[in-house]
């Protein structure tokens, strides 16, 4: 099965490194220092969203049965045959935002610069070179994982198994305290 990006919510500290890395990866220069002066400004396809004491990296999960593809009246939203990535054909997109309406993750947005749909392309350029998606590689806490669903399930199984036999420590106390303190109020 195709690899996707998964978010391990308990690890996200909302530093937004993924947002920055995504925008830079989709810039003309590919360099943070110059990307911020480009016109149009490169845009991030991932958004850190508050969820009480937690935060969540929202972006396209490239659904197997993608609502955005079904809803697209022009066929602009499609699945790349070779990679399985859900992608937008910029020439065919008419900016009707049916994809925005139907995406349950809010992962498709309107690009104000082009007037067309904007979403994660799973960093086709980087993955072709054997690199991970920019957001995953930028995440300093390992909150984002690039894996197939089976691989992720395996990781989860392994972590539970280790914890069950006491081989893995609980989350660092300082993080638990920080979360606890944030938990007093949902912003």
């Amino acid at each position: 099965m195709q690899k996707a990006i998964f978010t391990l919510m308990e690890r996200c500290v909302a530093c937004k490194s993924c947002e920055i890395a995504c925008a830079v990866a989709h810039s003309q220069s590919g360099i943070l220092a110059t990307a911020q002066f480009e016109k149009p400004l490169p845009r991030s396809r991932v958004r850190i969203t508050s969820a009480g004491a937690y935060s969540f990296a929202s972006r396209c999960v490239h659904c197997e049965d993608a609502a955005c593809i079904a809803a697209c009246p022009t066929g602009a939203m499609h699945r790349e045959a070779k990679t399985g990535v859900v992608a937008v054909d910029q020439d065919r997109c008419i900016g009707c935002w049916m994809c925005v309406v139907t995406c349950p993750f809010g992962a498709v947005t309107a690009d104000p610069g082009t007037g067309k749909a904007l979403k994660c392309d799973l960093c086709a350029v980087r993955t072709a070179k054997g690199l991970g998606p920019a957001c995953v590689d930028a995440c300093p806490t390992g909150a984002m994982v690039y894996a197939t669903p089976d691989e992720l399930a395996g990781m989860r199984r392994s972590a539970t198994a280790m914890a069950s036999v006491g081989a893995v420590e609980e989350i660092e106390e300082s993080v638990a305290l920080w979360r606890n303190l944030k938990g007093g109020r949902a912003i």
Partner: protein
């Protein structure tokens, strides 16, 4: 964002903002959220250009910075720099007042020495002879003593701490190596020690934090307040009004915002002098109102009305009724200039250190104070001329508030019960439990906590449990707006013991009712008044300040100044509640040091709690423990 839990003033102002489609701090906070966890944990280091370094709190990533600095050293280093920011602000403010006072004595700045009583009482403290001398000459000696500290390189103890602070505490500080000499040298040393490749020992860095806080407490706060009292007079209790409703559609509204009364005193003076010009322009009068701490200064000494605390400063501009907002230093949001642009409001900066794009800059120097203050008030009258007749939105909300509780004023009230031993009635009532203890609620107003009325809820919970509350700074504005600085609040919220004591005191003071359960002691710089009050009680009891049934709280921390003020209470042995958490949680050893181990060093701890009721309960319980240690039930 919901308006449901807002205090009424905020709810009304935010409705105006929404109606006018104006962006507020709350919108910007929502956009900023979630905020970076590394920053919040304190484990982001930008000290050198190998970085920025971040410590993965989950333990998979880097465990130290590139240079090898540990998370504990990282958070301690960052905290020290915050503390330097706070101390530098207060020491800078104090030095500005000091140089102004010197210029006044030299006949170069047009101010009068209004606090003769303070000059004489400080002369006693500093051993300056007064017999047969002019007040001005005594004052000059005191100024010279203060000036000496800023120039000394002899490493002798700083005058304002060594001659002014209680002796028992000084001994503790000396034993801990916290006594200091020239404050500027210490600020330099702290910045040096925290630059790349210097102090990497978290324990050493945290002792520097305490030392820097001590500097803030004595050569910042105490020095500044002493000088301001000498120059502008010692505050006396008076009744004023608070909240946005003090703006008056038909008057020239001048909002003084910032911290330094050297400016606002002159604005007030010229507002009186130019009343005729305002009337000629079609106004009823000139209505000077106070924002933030310079507002507190004016209300303490002149009963000037309190229009807004810091986090409301942009909101009151959205009424369209502020003709001029005149600012000096600290806590001035750059956004104010952008909001002012949407109205006829003249937004005027005055300090060379506070330049804000789109503001009108009118440099204010004490030497030319009269000329500049006159021009500023005229700019306000001109703005009124442009605004006159246009619709404004002033929510008609304001409450009565008692202010002016200097230590001298408090002792004055107590002396009416016992002239020979004024502190005794307080001590008797602490001993018999009518007063459970004291809480100093100080610091900022934070939009992160305003929606839940954090400060109001905390204070109501405390006074209901017979804790007498003193307040300063923006929390004083919050208490004022909530009606907590009134005799009615004693009737409504105070516990039975506290109510009884305040009723007796109020009658003795000739108020015809109870004293308020919350005493407004001034601006954030006036936290030294709280320390002086505690010192007087401790001295009378023959105990150290840290042994008193007293506790501090900065329930809505925003500014670095609140960090160094908090530190100065910790150095005295006064435990302190704080919200939000200081940025140290990524350093387990530093976290434990402040929350537990500091008890063995100065006797104080820090307690973080974001929920008002739980915070109050912790404070009451802490006071109970202090009472038990003193043998009180």
């Amino acid at each position: 964002m919901t308006l449901l839990n807002q205090p009424p003033v905020e709810a009304a102002l935010l409705q105006i903002a929404r109606k006018k489609g104006m962006d507020t701090g709350r919108d910007r906070l929502a956009e900023m959220s979630p905020q970076c966890g590394f920053g919040e944990l304190g484990t982001c280091c930008r000290t050198c250009y190998m970085g920025p370094c971040r410590i993965d709190p989950f333990g998979d990533g880097p465990k130290t910075g590139i240079c090898g600095i540990t998370p504990d050293a990282m958070v301690a280093r960052n905290l020290l720099r915050e503390t330097v920011g706070g101390a530098a602000s207060h020491v800078g403010h104090a030095r500005h007042v000091l140089l102004t006072l010197r210029d006044v004595l030299d006949g170069k700045a047009p101010y009068e020495i209004k606090g003769e009583a303070k000059v004489l009482s400080l002369a006693k403290v500093f051993g300056v002879p007064t017999d047969g001398r002019e007040v001005k000459d005594v004052c000059r000696d005191l100024v010279d003593i203060a000036l000496e500290d800023f120039g000394r390189q002899d490493e002798l103890p700083n005058n304002w701490v060594s001659k002014r602070a209680p002796k028992g505490e000084q001994e503790m500080w000396a034993n801990l190596g916290l006594m200091y000499s020239n404050p500027h040298n210490e600020i330099e040393t702290a910045m040096h020690a925290t630059s790349m490749g210097n102090d990497a020992d978290p324990a050493s860095l945290m002792m520097r934090v305490l030392k820097m806080s001590l500097i803030d407490g004595w050569t910042g706060l105490a020095l500044c307040v002493d000088l301001q009292d000498m120059l502008f007079g010692v505050p006396e209790v008076s009744v004023t009004q608070a909240a946005v409703g003090v703006l008056d559609e038909k008057s020239v509204n001048v909002a003084a915002h910032g911290h330094n009364p050297v400016l606002s005193e002159k604005i007030l003076e010229w507002a009186f002098k130019l009343e005729d010009e305002a009337i000629a322009a079609g106004a009823d009068r000139i209505n000077v109102v106070g924002v933030c701490c310079t507002g507190n200064e004016l209300s303490m000494r002149h009963g000037v009305k309190l229009a807004a605390h810091n986090s409301q400063s942009e909101l009151i501009l959205m009424t369209g009724a502020v003709d001029a907002m005149v600012v000096d230093i600290q806590c001035i949001w750059p956004q104010l200039a952008q909001v002012a642009k949407c109205f006829d409001t003249a937004f005027i900066t005055t300090d060379p250190m506070v330049r804000i794009p789109d503001a009108r800059h009118m440099p204010f120097e004490p030497e030319h104070a009269d000329e500049t203050a006159r021009e500023i008030v005229r700019a306000a009258i001109a703005a009124f001329g442009a605004r006159k007749g246009k619709p404004v939105d002033i929510p008609q909300i304001s409450t009565s508030a008692m202010a002016g509780f200097s230590v001298e004023a408090i002792v004055g009230v107590l002396a009416k019960l016992n002239a020979e031993d004024p502190i005794k009635p307080v001590i008797d009532n602490v001993a018999n439990g009518n007063i459970h203890g004291f809480a100093g609620i100080v610091g900022c107003s934070s939009i992160r906590f305003r929606d839940g009325a954090m400060t109001e809820e905390l204070v109501k919970n405390l006074i209901a449990q017979d804790v007498l509350v003193v307040t300063t700074g923006c929390t004083a504005h919050i208490c004022a707006q909530a009606g907590l600085l009134t005799p009615e609040a004693t009737e409504r919220y105070a516990g039975p013991g506290l109510k009884a004591v305040l009723s007796v005191l109020g009658r003795a003071a000739g108020l015809g009712g109870a004293l308020p359960p919350v005493w407004h002691m001034g601006a954030c710089v006036d936290n030294s008044r709280i320390v002086d009050l505690l010192a007087a009680v401790a001295d009378r009891l023959g105990v150290k300040i840290g042994q008193l049934p007293a506790v501090g709280s900065a329930p809505e921390l925003v500014q670095e100044k609140a960090v160094s003020i908090g530190g100065s209470f910790l150095a005295l042995g006064v435990s302190t509640h704080i919200a939000p958490a200081p940025r140290i949680l990524g350093g387990p050893m530093v976290t434990k040091l402040l929350s537990e181990d500091l008890a063995d060093v100065t006797g104080a701890v820090v307690h973080v709690e974001l929920e008002a009721k739980r915070a109050a309960d912790w404070m009451v319980e802490h006071i109970s423990q202090k009472r038990a240690a003193l043998g009180l039930s």
